[in-house]
Symmetry: C2
Subunit: 279 residues, 2 copies
DNA sequence: TTGAAAGCGGTACCAG
DNA sequence: CTGGTACCGCTTTCAA
C-alpha cells in the first residue's frame, strides 16, 4: 500500500501538501502545477488513504455497526439489506455482526465495534440482558434498537406495533368463525414475541374465545421446533381450528406438520403467520 | 473512551507499562504490586484498547472482510453465517458487505475494506468484470473467491461442481421419462449459472432430449422474473414437462406460476431447483 | 522492573 | 502557496 509519504516523495512535495490536494476541501489555495503533480503521483501509485489512520486522527470513521441475532433469518437479512443501502448512500460503511442469539457474543460485539471507532451502533438485541446497553446510554454512546426493545429500559428504538398486529389477526380469525385458536411462538423473553402474545391474550379475553394453556406454546423459533410444537397441538383432545404463528421459520415447520397430518389450508385449519419472506 | 494514558495516570505508571501489563505477553517481568494497580485502574475505567490505533501500529487488524452480492438471498446469508462463526471462533471479526449485484459497489468495497486495514478478503463476485481482482492478485493481497469464480482468471476459490450437479439433476429427470426439459436461470455472466447451463446442455445432447432455444431462459434471478419467465415457457406451443431451475427465488416465482396455471407437482410438471433454504 | 521516545499514516495548525 | 510539527492511541526498542 502506498502512503502519503510515498506520494509526496514522487511528487516532490511535503506530505501535508498531498493531504490538502487530495482532500481538496479547505479554502487553501494550491498552484495548479503542484496539484497536477500530486494527483498524477497519487494515481500512478494507486494511493488509497488509510482509513484507520484517518479515523484515529479525526475521531470519526464514517462507519456504523449493526448487530443482529441471526443473519440467516430472512427478516433480519432484509433489515440488514435496507440499512446497508441507506448507509452506503449516505457515505457510511456498515459493519454487520451476527450474535446468533448469543448474549455473550452480542456484548462482545458491542465492545469490539466501539473499540474499532464506529460512529454509531444499531442493535436488534438478544434480550437476555441489557446492562451493556444501559452502559452505552450512560456513556452517551449513539445507538438505536431495532425490532426489539425493553419495556423497562428507555432508549431510541424502532419497532412495529406487534401487539396491535396480533390482535387484528385474531379479530380476523374470529370473524371467520374460529373459537379455538392456538398461539405458536419462540422464546418469550423476546420483545416482539411478548407483545404478540399480549395481543393474542387480549383478543381471547375480549372475544370470549377458548382460553386454554395447551393452546399457547413458546417452544422455540426454529423450523424443527415449529414442526414438533404444531404436532403436539394438533394431537390435543380438542385441537385448535386456527393458529396464530409468530415467527417465519416456525410457520414453515407448522406447514410441514399439516402436510404430514393430511390437513389442508384453509379447509381443515386456518393460519396467520408473522413472516415477511416472499414465500 | 478511556485511553492508555488515562489508565496510566490513575495507576501512576507510564503508559507503556500499562500496555505491557494488559497484554501480559512478552517475558517482561512486572512487580505484582504494579500489575495489581494497573489492572484495577483499567477495570475501574472500563478500558478497552483502541483497535484502530492498535491495528495501525501492528499492521494487523484481526479482521476479515466478506463481500457478497445479496445478503437477503438465503444462500449467501447462510455462507455469511458460517464464515462469521468460523472467524469469530478464531478470534477474527468479520465485516460483511453487500454489493447488491452492483459491480461498482463491489469495487468500492474492495478498496474501502483494504484501506481499513483488514487482513484478508472473501468475495463472491458480481462477475461483470474482474480487473480489480487481478489488481489484488498482483499486489499479493490475500483474498479468496467463494461460490463464483472466473475460468479465465486463476485464483484461490471455493466453489461447488455446479456442472456435475446440473447434469445429475437432468439425468434424474430423464429417468423419470421427461424428454422436454426447460432451464430457468439468472444472468448468464455468473459462474454458477454458466456451469449449470453447461451441465444442462451436456445432458440434452448426451440423452438426446429436445433441443430448443425457447426452453432456455436466463431472464434474471428475482421472484418476479422467475414468475414471468415460467409463464412464458408454459405458454409455448410445446411447453416443457419438467424444469431445471438455477436460483432459489426463481423457483418460488415458478411455483407461483404453477399455482396460477392450476398445475400441480409432480402430476402435471416436474421441477428440480438449486436452492438451500428450508422451504 | 519501569520510563522515555520513536513511529504507524494521516490531519491541522502555525510559520514563512 | 507550501513546509514543518504536533498529535490521535497504541506498541516497541533502548536506557536507566
Amino acid at each position: 500500500m502506498a502512503t502519503l509519504k510515498d506520494v509526496a516523495a514522487l511528487a516532490k512535495v511535503h506530505p501535508s501538501t498531498v493531504s490538502r490536494v487530495l482532500r481538496s476541501v479547505e479554502n487553501v489555495p494550491i498552484t495548479e502545477e503542484t496539484r497536477k503533480r500530486v494527483i498524477a503521483a497519487a494515481k500512478s501509485l494507486d494511493y488509497q488513504p488509510d482509513q484507520r489512520a484517518r479515523a484515529l486522527r479525526l475521531g470519526k470513521s464514517n462507519t456504523i455497526g449493526l448487530i443482529i441475532p441471526d443473519i440467516s433469518n430472512p427478516f433480519f437479512a432484509e433489515i440488514a439489506k435496507s440499512i446497508e443501502q441507506e448507509s452506503y448512500d449516505s457515505g457510511y460503511t456498515l459493519v454487520v455482526c451476527a450474535s446468533n442469539e448469543d448474549q455473550e457474543k452480542e456484548i462482545d460485539f458491542v465492545h469490539n465495534l466501539i473499540s474499532r471507532g464506529i460512529d454509531g451502533l444499531i442493535i436488534a438485541p438478544v434480550q437476555d440482558s441489557y446492562e451493556h446497553l444501559v452502559d452505552l446510554k450512560k456513556r452517551n454512546y449513539p445507538f438505536v434498537l431495532v425490532d426489539r426493545c425493553f419495556d423497562e429500559f428507555e432508549t431510541n428504538a424502532v419497532v412495529s406495533d406487534n401487539e396491535a398486529a396480533a390482535f387484528e389477526a385474531m379479530e380476523y380469525l374470529k370473524d371467520l368463525g374460529h373459537k379455538r385458536i392456538g398461539f405458536l411462538s419462540g422464546r418469550s423473553t423476546i420483545y416482539t414475541i411478548r407483545k404478540r402474545r399480549q395481543g393474542y391474550q387480549k383478543a381471547v379475553d375480549l372475544f370470549g374465545l377458548d382460553k386454554d394453556d395447551a393452546l399457547v406454546s413458546a417452544g422455540g423459533f426454529t423450523f424443527e421446533e415449529g414442526y414438533s410444537e404444531t404436532l403436539k397441538m394438533l394431537s390435543l383432545a380438542h385441537p385448535p381450528t386456527a393458529l396464530l404463528i409468530a415467527g417465519n421459520r416456525i410457520t414453515f415447520g407448522a406447514l410441514k406438520a399439516f402436510v404430514e397430518k393430511g390437513l389442508t389450508i384453509p379447509d381443515d385449519i386456518s393460519i396467520i403467520g408473522f413472516t415477511d419472506s416472499i414465500v
